[in-house]
Assembly symmetry: C2
Homo-oligomer: 147 residues x 2
């Protein structure tokens, strides 16, 4: 039994029960209050497309740390809401390029402002250098488990 047993268990439940839920739920609420009918999961797809448009579904899997079926359904739902369209790649017919519509471009600034505002609320009292440490720890965890 490792000697740091309980600490790790505690960390585990913190990560699992709190990290994504508290921030995500608040951001979702802020979207709703602003009249935006979009989930944070859908927004996270748009967020990556705003950085670089017309990515393949596989590339979205890599960048959002989701598996392929999850991306398929998220794109399905975003397509229903006319936020993105699937464009068959001309060089590889297996690939769908996921491209933004004008509707998605219109909500970019508003939603990113809301996200920044939410992160500001969430990070009150947290030192900048500690945020950097959290990012580094998460990246290491991801590398340890996935690569």
């Amino acid at each position: 039994m490792p000697n740091n047993h309980f600490k790790r268990g505690e960390l585990y439940s913190v990560i699992n029960g709190m990290a994504s839920t508290a921030v995500a739920r608040r951001l979702q609420k802020n979207f709703r209050n602003a009249g935006l009918e979009i989930t944070i999961e859908q927004w996270s797809i748009l967020y990556h497309l705003w950085k670089e448009d017309c990515l393949s579904q596989q590339e979205l899997c890599n960048r959002t740390f989701r598996d392929k079926p999850s991306i398929t359904r998220l794109i399905d739902n975003l397509e229903k809401q006319a936020m993105v369209i699937r464009m068959p790649s001309k060089t590889d017919r297996r690939i769908n390029l996921v491209c933004l519509t004008d509707a998605a471009k219109e909500i970019q600034n508003l939603t990113i402002d809301l996200a920044n505002q939410t992160m500001s609320e969430a990070l009150v009292g947290v030192k900048k250098e500690d945020i950097e440490i959290v990012k580094i720890v998460f990246q290491k965890v991801y590398d340890n488990l996935i690569l």
Copy 2:
């Protein structure tokens, strides 16, 4: 537009896409490989009951940062698998006390070992003091958003 705009956006997607999924998915896989038919969400309930048995559903909500319907269904599924039973409180008939069965007690040591092992794999190369910082940051985030 806040000047630390992109950093926070990045942190957001890291928290949302990676934190719970990578560790949780690995732990789930380790459970499955050990022949355990239990989800990590169900395990997180058992984890709190091993620390203190016969908690109310509301108390489990507080300790696992979940809402009431989530707890209701997790307990439903755990009850189907005969891991817990609902016992009506004698002092307040609105309350269900959720108590462990022998089957749950049997898997306690094995699953906690697997969880510690998974956290050890996940935290390779991460300094102990950085883990503490992550915990403190998450607690602050939670306090900022919920309280």
